[in-house]
Amino acid sequence: MAEVAAEQGLKIVDAFDLDDELRAILRPGEMIRDPHDRRHRLPRYFYEVPSHEAAKKIRLTPHFGLNEFILVDLREAPRLQEFPRYIPCAVRVLAFYLEQLRAAVGSIHIAVNGGYRSPAHKLAVSATPHMWGTAADLFRIGSAILNDKESITKFNAIAEELAGDLFVMPYGHEIGRADDHMHLDLGYITMLPREVSEDRMEVPQQQPRFAFEDRRGLDRRTLASEMVPPRDQD
């Protein structure tokens, strides 16, 4: 997946470096509960997508453009309906798996609101892998519209067979099931691009660069001390 040349133009950003409004929307590093009351830490590193044209041009895999993962409607926060847009780096992993699924079943189509959804999206009632960029809702595979038990169950089985990493939602009307699309996800994966240095997590900043970090400083210092001993104590 790393060989796709056009992707090299993507800028990686630490969401802590974004402006107040974007940080409030993306909530980098915050803990959020899933429907089973398990807590998950929201992603911090995002690709910055400068324009609609760029989103269309950038291929994450041979058959998946970045634009397919950022299709949203008016339920997304207004700021995230405008460019530059932000999408968690783990979307590359999802695209890789979708490419494998595509090879098995033919062309697949991600629904609007079916790729990345921010924590501010109106469909976001609790943590979902969509907020990590690691879930996709497919509304069509080939010419089959996925809105009945037969088609959803059939393609769910193929996806499960393909990779044990893929979770699919069973057909049904209740919460945690899907009846007018096929949901698949990889769980709560966060991706740390190799270009990124994590020193800001390991060494507390003397002068936090943003008010947001200032407010969160105590938590982050606690976290840092638990994770990695400071160098001067070696």
Binding site: D73, L74, V112, D180
Partner: protein
Amino acid sequence: MKKTSLLKTAEVAERAKDSIAASEVSLYHNVLRIKEAHDLEVLGIAFYDYETTIGWSYNADTYFHAASTMKLAVLLGVFREIDRGQLTLESPVHVRNRFTSIVNQQPFMLALDRDSDPFVYTNLGKTMTVYDLAYQMITTSSNLATNLLIEVIGVPTIQRSLEELDINGVKVIRGVEDQAAFDAGLSNEVTAHGLLSLLKIISEERAYSVAASQKMLEIMHDQQFNSGIPKWLPKAARVAHKTGNISTIHHDAGIVYLENRKPYVLVILTAFDAQTGRSSAVAEVSRDIFSTLAGIING
């Protein structure tokens, strides 16, 4: 000389009054004749003419199943949200055929073969703008577009807009094709007076703003179903309207623009037995009202 002139004026006024009264009586008899001829179970009519300032109604406070005339209230609610900055005409909406019943919270889908507009279905999984959905909802009576817009703005917003604009006689409680709600006796309802007052507000450009009212009128002018009010009007007539048809209902509500005169607003609601089937009653009532108004003006 002056005295004679005053007498003449009074005489003309008296004659005009007699003429209007006679026209009203004649219209009333014609309406009864049409009702009987088409075997209508219930008929409701209301109109207001801006040229003569004559208003007339028949059974105009009786509630009917709204059928698709409720889409006018949805349109009003959409423009309320646009006026408040909550939406724009360009806002993208995910086209998805999945809705939740107001009765049992169970999901339901619309049947393509029961929708008069297949176009919106071709966009399943994609987005359409609020404007495009509003346009399809009114001009081709798309049920899918209607339910999508209701989902975006919510039924309480629609009711709030009706209340804010002091429109009584239009009750919107649910979207289209919610069978569980229908079976439970929960349906949207309208009276002829209710729809008349909604249309008057739009035609007088008082529906939130002049721009919003004009945009709504622009959409209504593109109505594709013209077998009701416009059918037997002069070719030059332009009608901004919305129909409502189900197996036992045929309604039409609109604003009629004729050359060299101010418009009139007209609502015709009909209910009949499913065996009787749809008729041309709405078009006939519309033609009689046009003739009556033309007769009054021509003396």
